[in-house]
């Protein structure tokens, strides 16, 4: 990645912010109470300083979206708690949620709209008014539409306001090229595998019926490091109740330390293990035969398919003990149907990920888990009408973990000029939501048709999309780059127009509707006024829409009006929702017994499709197979990446409170390997990948907790944005080192665990 430097010509506001300049007390002044000398400190706690205002909203510090109550005094938020009425938070929050206040008061925030004055990437900007920024954006968008059609505008969206740009604006405007990293860079394989097997996607919340669960199997899921609040709560309760825990991971993760069985698998071989487990369940007749007979089709084909895939066969591939493979399969079976393999979340690993997910789901089916108490429930969307806008110019297919079920499997939508998505859907890959990484190439080559403009909402482009060098090449070629964000992330330097966004605590927003065991609707109320000149996404989308001829979609003037209209369809009002604690919980249909005549599995056969006719017709393997992945070259380690519990993606590394808890990532390196290389715990090293990309320095954590053939680091560090005063230059960047990916031919997911690094000792 090139050096990214933001220079703002009007004045160097960042320096003045740190020095406590006029008008900036909100951020810098209040973040750190003045405690210069004894006696200077205020000892009255915030909750005694005045009337406490409680505001119901939904956390935006990770994509899990717990219901929160923001506590503010005199127009300043001091503390966020979980909303006890919310089915996800249940009154608790993780560290990141607790850091929401600090995220909002980060003195490095973008404070004004800006337009580029230098070359792209130089980061030279001038602060302008909203009128100027929006007028300029609208004018360029219309010119591009005129010449290339509306499909030539791509929209990338992430975080909780993504709906307004990646869904609402993009569909009103008429581009099918709207993408969310939560699809092809995260969950697409698990969603598509679920669609193919059961006829429905997983949805946002992995539907494990935790209360009665007796055996949990995790494959590359890191509960605790991935600190999704509800999952940690549910896991802790199940574990304390004595539920068996089987963890498959090349790394002794936090949750592996809680496991009854830890399988330190060779990276990339998970499907072989899964197939061997299927083999044991079937050959030892330990599966739920009645359930399979009633609800599944393709069992005979499956049994024949795995006949030779014994634990001994898998042991040679996975480097696990065959006895351990057999034992764990039996433990899973002993506890059926309250026994599940968790679907996982970030499952774009090796490019054959849909097949691996199918293998895991087939085990869940053999265990009879779907629709059974203590197994996997059927989630359901809450009942509420959408805002009655006129029909959109193009149907949505961005998907994403917050999308309504079914969005991924929609028919391939066509734009107003008759163009389908430019990401190669149905040619490069079979099905799935828009593949963000496959929209980069058309920006460079103009094939299958040119993409000339990119609106980036809340997506950390250069830390998220694999091969950031290629992304920069694309950014250079575009006619218009609009970046909407809260912080001066790396890609901001490549924008023509920068629009500063209000955080969740500073804006009222559309209702949060959650597909769940108990479907629910949550209010997103505003706690305090936005920082500086930041604005909410709904306002930006509307103002832009009004300037580009989309008035008919924006008849509503405020988002409150939009929400009030929706709430009326279920006999509610904003006021009533406020009075009732910010959450409406509805009844679900979680179990088989809740389905009378119609099948809960809306597949073609109405059954669980162990054997997939659809995959067979498309020339893909109708039953999961194990495909070996590339091995690390001599002297290289496989690069594994994951989470630290106090950070989310590449979003929170500059948040002062979370930065203090974890200022930089470290490199997990097997202690024996480290010793043989003469590397000590705490040594600083650089990493160089198979393509010569370097990142670091990063501190080595010489540990027994990882296999000798892989290294691990948490994602989101090694930042190269000088305006991120805390995060810049700390640790190493996995994103920079992921210069390659393997495209999953079924889901379009980008498998990113196919990069290898060697360790370069610091000179």
């Amino acid at each position: 990645m090139g050096k990214v430097q933001l220079q703002i010509s009007r004045r160097t506001f960042l320096k003045s912010a740190l020095a406590g300049g006029a008008g900036l007390t909100l951020a810098a002044g209040q973040l750190q109470p003045a405690l210069a000398a004894p006696g200077a400190e205020t000892t009255t706690p915030w909750y005694f300083r005045g009337q406490i205002k409680r505001t119901y909203s939904v956390c935006d510090m990770c994509p899990w979206r717990c219901g929160i109550i923001a506590h503010s005094v005199d127009g300043r938020v001091f503390k966020i708690d979980g909303n006890p009425a919310d089915p996800k938070s249940r009154g608790m929050l993780c560290a990141r949620g607790q850091g929401g206040v600090s995220f909002m008061y980060d003195p490095d925030r973008l404070r004004s709209p800006m337009v580029r004055t230098g070359e792209r990437g130089e980061g030279k900007f001038q602060e302008v008014t909203w009128e100027e920024a929006l007028d300029q954006t609208a004018e360029k968008l219309l010119a591009i539409k005129e010449q290339y059609g509306p499909e030539s505008v791509a929209v990338f969206g992430h975080t909780s306001g993504e709906f307004w740009f990646a869904d609402y604006f993009a569909q009103a405007w008429g581009t099918p090229n709207a993408a969310k990293p939560s699809s092809s860079l995260c969950t697409s394989p698990r969603e598509e595998a679920s669609n193919l097997t059961f006829g429905f996607p997983v949805g946002g919340h992995e539907p494990i019926d935790w209360e009665g669960l007796r055996c949990l199997t995790l494959i590359g899921s890191h509960i605790g490091e991935d600190s999704r609040n509800t999952v940690m709560q549910d896991f802790a309760n199940a574990w304390a109740r004595g539920a068996k825990v089987i963890v498959v991971d090349p790394r002794f993760s936090s949750v592996a330390a809680k496991a009854d069985y830890w399988l330190p698998i060779k990276p990339g071989t998970d499907t072989a293990l899964l197939l061997a487990w299927i083999n044991v369940l079937i050959t030892e007749k330990r599966y739920d035969a009645d359930y399979i007979a009633q609800w599944a089709q393709g069992f005979e084909e499956l049994a024949a398919h795995v006949a030779e895939m014994t634990p001994e066969w898998a042991a040679a591939i996975t480097e696990l003990d065959a006895g351990l493979i057999r034992t764990t399969a039996r433990v899973m079976a002993d506890n059926l149907p309250q026994s599940v393999i968790m679907p996982g979340r970030h499952v774009t690993w090796y490019g054959n990920d849909t097949q691996r997910m199918r293998a895991a789901y087939i085990i869940n089916a053999l265990l009879g888990a779907y629709g059974r108490e203590g197994g996997i429930y059927f989630n359901k969307s809450p009942y509420i009408e959408a805002y009655p806008h006129p029909p959109f110019a193009v149907a949505g297919s961005a998907g994403g973990c917050s999308a309504e079920p079914g969005a991924e499997s929609a028919e391939l939508p066509l734009g107003p000029s008759g163009k389908a998505r430019a990401d190669g859907a149905r040619t490069k890959f079979l099905r799935g939501a828009t593949a963000m990484q496959e929209l980069i190439e058309p920006m460079i080559t103009g094939e299958p048709y040119p993409i000339k403009a990119l609106i980036v909402y809340g997506t950390n482009l250069l830390n998220t999309v694999p091969n950031p060098e290629r992304t920069i090449e694309a950014l250079k070629k575009l006619d218009l780059v609009v970046v909407i964000d809260v912080l001066p992330m790396e890609h901001v330097a490549w924008a023509d127009v920068v629009l500063p966004e209000a955080t969740i605590l500073e804006r009222f927003d559309d209702l949060w509707t959650v597909s769940h065991k108990t479907p629910y609707i949550a209010l997103r109320d505003q706690a305090v006024e936005p920082y500086a000149d930041a604005k909410p996404a709904w306002w930006m989308a509307r103002e832009l829409g009004m300037r580009v001829g989309l008035e008919k979609y924006f008849k509503w003037e405020t988002v409150e009006e939009f929400v009030e209209t929706r709430l009326k369809t279920i006999g509610y009002s904003i006021e009533k929702l406020r009075e009732e604690g910010g959450v409406i919980v509805q009844k679900g249909k979680p179990y088989l017994a809740d389905f009378k005549s119609n099948s809960p599995f809306p597949t073609k056969s109405g059954k669980i499709e162990l054997y997939s006719e659809e995959l067979a017709l498309a020339g893909q393997d109708p039953l999961p197979i194990y495909t070996p992945t590339t091995e690390p070259p001599q002297g290289y380690f496989r690069l594994l990446y994951g989470r630290h519990p106090v950070h989310t993606f590449a979003k929170t590394q500059n948040t002062p409170l979370l930065h203090q808890l974890n200022p930089e990532n470290d490199l997990w390196l097997n202690a024996g390997v480290a010793a043989s290389m003469g590397i000590k715990d705490g040594d600083k090293v650089y990493l160089e990948n198979q393509d010569g990309v370097r990142s670091g320095p990063i501190k080595v954590k010489a540990t027994q907790r990882i296999r000798p053939d892989a290294v691990f680091m948490s994602h989101g560090f090694g930042r190269n944005a000088p305006q991120l005063s805390l995060a810049n230059g700390r640790g190493a960047s996995d994103a920079a080192l992921i210069s390659r990916y393997a495209l999953d031919p079924i889901s379009g997911g980008a498998g990113m665990r196919v990069n290898f690094v060697r360790i370069v000792k610091e000179a």
């Binding site: 405690l35 004894p38 706690p45 574990w239 304390a240 936090s254 592996a256 409170l657």
Partner: protein, 254 residues
């Protein structure tokens, strides 16, 4: 008067650090300050491993060394918790030397440590860390009830961790943080038999009345005295350390 305690279930903690973050934001701790520190612990060799998280925080000792050495009463016991009134702290830092767990820190010239969210709990709330813990590894309440819960949990977790035990019931005269440990305290970086350091008792009974009686008086007049007292104290402490180092081996072997 109620005697309260925390429950800290190390067997259940999954290291998410929500407690540390909630404490920082709820208590408006200045940048750089934390009352709770989590550290990953690993035992064994790949692939035969055990792991846990050390949760380093004020353990609210019943027989608190910091309270004993505090010359101004800034540190005091209340409801079983060790409180700190920063307004009367003179910054002598005796507490930072005396604490066997190295808990109090000097922040902006005054002692700083967990006070068990005194004003929150007095208003009927739970400490911030307890309130947010997603793993139910933290609780706060009547010490007897907390002890009973700790023993219940130990029994329940023994199937997984045969060496599980309660820690803090009597150690160091009884801690205000009752821990559920998955293993022996020594391997979890906790002293098997923590005691208020010998030197603290000596300090309080002998040195403090003699050496600090006058300086404590003058503190009210001038802060310079605190600096002098601190310097004197450090010298005395070194001497005591030296004496104790000789005496300790015999006395500790019982």
């Amino acid at each position: 008067m109620a005697i309260n305690a925390f429950l800290l279930d190390i067997s259940r903690c999954i290291g998410c650090e929500a407690c540390a973050a909630a404490c920082m934001t709820g208590n408006e701790l200045p940048a750089g300050t934390q009352y709770i520190h989590l550290t990953e612990q690993t035992r064994g060799e790949f692939p035969t491993l055990a792991g846990s998280f050390k949760n380093h925080r004020c353990y609210h000792c019943a027989d608190a060394a910091c309270v004993k050495v505090c010359p101004t009463g800034a540190l005091y016991k209340e409801d079983g918790m060790t409180r700190l009134n920063r307004e009367v702290c003179i910054g002598c830092a005796y507490c930072t030397d005396a604490c066997p767990f190295e808990v109090p820190q000097m922040v902006n010239g005054r002692s700083s440590k967990c006070d068990a969210c005194a004003s929150v709990t007095k208003a009927g709330g739970e400490p911030w860390c307890v309130r947010t813990c997603p793993s139910d590894a933290l609780r706060y309440g009547d010490r007897q009830e907390i002890l009973a819960e700790a023993h219940r949990r130990v029994e329940a977790v023994k199937a997984r961790y045969p060496k599980a035990r309660v820690y803090g019931e009597s150690e160091a005269g009884g801690l205000g943080v009752i821990m559920v440990l998955p293993d022996d305290p020594e391997v979890l970086d906790l002293p098997a038999n923590p005691d208020v350091p010998l030197l603290v008792n000596t300090w309080q009974k002998v040195v403090q009345p003699a050496a600090l009686g006058l300086t404590a008086l003058s503190v009210a007049v001038t802060g310079v005295a605190a600096v002098i007292a601190r310097r004197n104290h450090m010298q005395e402490l070194k001497q005591l350390h030296a004496q104790q180092a000789k005496a300790a081996p015999e006395e500790r072997q019982e």
